[in-house]
Symmetry: C2
């Protein structure tokens, strides 16, 4: 019997935000596939979230480098997809761990599609996305009633969406965060803007009011929530 | 010692999509608060998700009627907030169960804010939102790379967002679903539109390609995902 690949959302950082389904699949899986963006042994936060459930299981490191050279990146995805497909053909169950939810800006999807194209059985297991944890941390809603909510990759496209209607979440801010905050200030939008970095992790930082205090920079896991006035 | 109110996201329908944190708090809670939109004993889907963890616990029904008369609705919220605050003052822990994630279109937030205003300790516990489960069910992503994602309450504001850039999730479609599908067809957007009703529930229905087949109507739990071409 062929195995199954699960793209497993492990939530935003707090191991208690794993779903029961994620825990079951981690325990049942034969191999844990781990994204490795920096070539240093696998995404540390994702591994820390699941560590108590995967003791002794073989891990497959899947390089997911953050490079501009797409041909290198795509070769990495091709290689990982091939290795995973070979495991499925041996009847192995593979759980690929991915932070947050696998359908929201996850590198995993590039491997998922490749495995499907090769005829493998690849399925998605939803997880709590980071922006939901950020709103919970700020003790506020993302959207209510008639409000819309737009999720925006901050480093690519912040400017285009600043004047769009509705509430906004700027994700993956990185070095673009100070620039984003400056644009929000110009528009008088800082009074209903807040930021959380590394939500649910040991190095979590919260800026509930960006008028009062603002971050010096912004890491990859910085999320800015802006409510409509 | 005062008690704590938890606004507890129980996920989209599948009991296995509860988080470990939600299960722990359900087990620890003294009272389970249950939204009651129809006056018939509490939201059935939310109760079914948590039933095995709340055996024998007292339940507090909180009327959340879907009425146009806001004064009636607000009196209901006021009353529930008062009852919950009284429980907190007795030192009770209260878990208010809410489908999906509490920060995404949850009626609970109206009660949450009232309890905070009364000086109560009210906290949010994130859950898997329904749109993440819908994308997983469709085996596709919500957003990748540079794509934005807008969540839109379909019955209020579909038209305004149809021509906006990025991927779109239309929620709470209800009776507005056939109209939404007609608007998508006019714009030649049906080829990258899919719909799931009652995702993860016993009466789940999936339309992976709305060109091939479309629903006759749409319930409250219908979600339409439209990808940018």
């Amino acid at each position: 019997m062929k195995g199954i690949l699960y793209g497993l959302g492990v939530g935003p950082g707090d191991p208690e935000l794993l779903t029961l389904k994620a825990v079951r699949i981690l325990k049942e899986a034969d191999v844990i596939a781990v994204p490795d963006p920096t070539g240093t042994g696998g995404e540390k936060t994702a591994l820390r979230i699941v560590e108590q459930y995967i003791q002794g299981k073989p891990q497959l490191l899947c390089p997911t480098p953050m490079l501009r050279d797409r041909s290198v990146v795509e070769r990495c995805y091709d290689q990982s997809a091939g290795e995973i497909k070979a495991l499925l053909d041996e009847g192995k169950t593979v759980a690929f761990i991915t932070l947050g939810d696998p359908t929201v800006y996850s590198t995993y999807m590039y491997i998922h599609r490749r495995v499907l194209e090769k005829g493998g059985d690849a399925r998605l297991v939803p997880g709590v996305p980071s922006f939901c944890a950020v709103a919970a941390r700020l003790n506020t809603s993302l959207c209510e009633g008639k409000e819309s909510l737009t999720i925006i990759p901050a480093s690519h496209d912040a400017e285009r969406f600043l004047d769009a209607p509705g509430n906004k979440v700027f994700m993956k801010g990185g070095r673009a965060v100070p620039e984003l905050i400056a644009r929000l200030e110009e528009r008088d939008m800082l009074s209903h803007a807040a930021m959380v970095a590394n939500c649910g992790m040991d190095n979590e930082q919260v800026w509930p009011d960006l008028r009062a205090e603002r971050p010096a920079g912004g890491g990859y896991f910085s999320i800015v929530l802006v409510k409509e006035a």
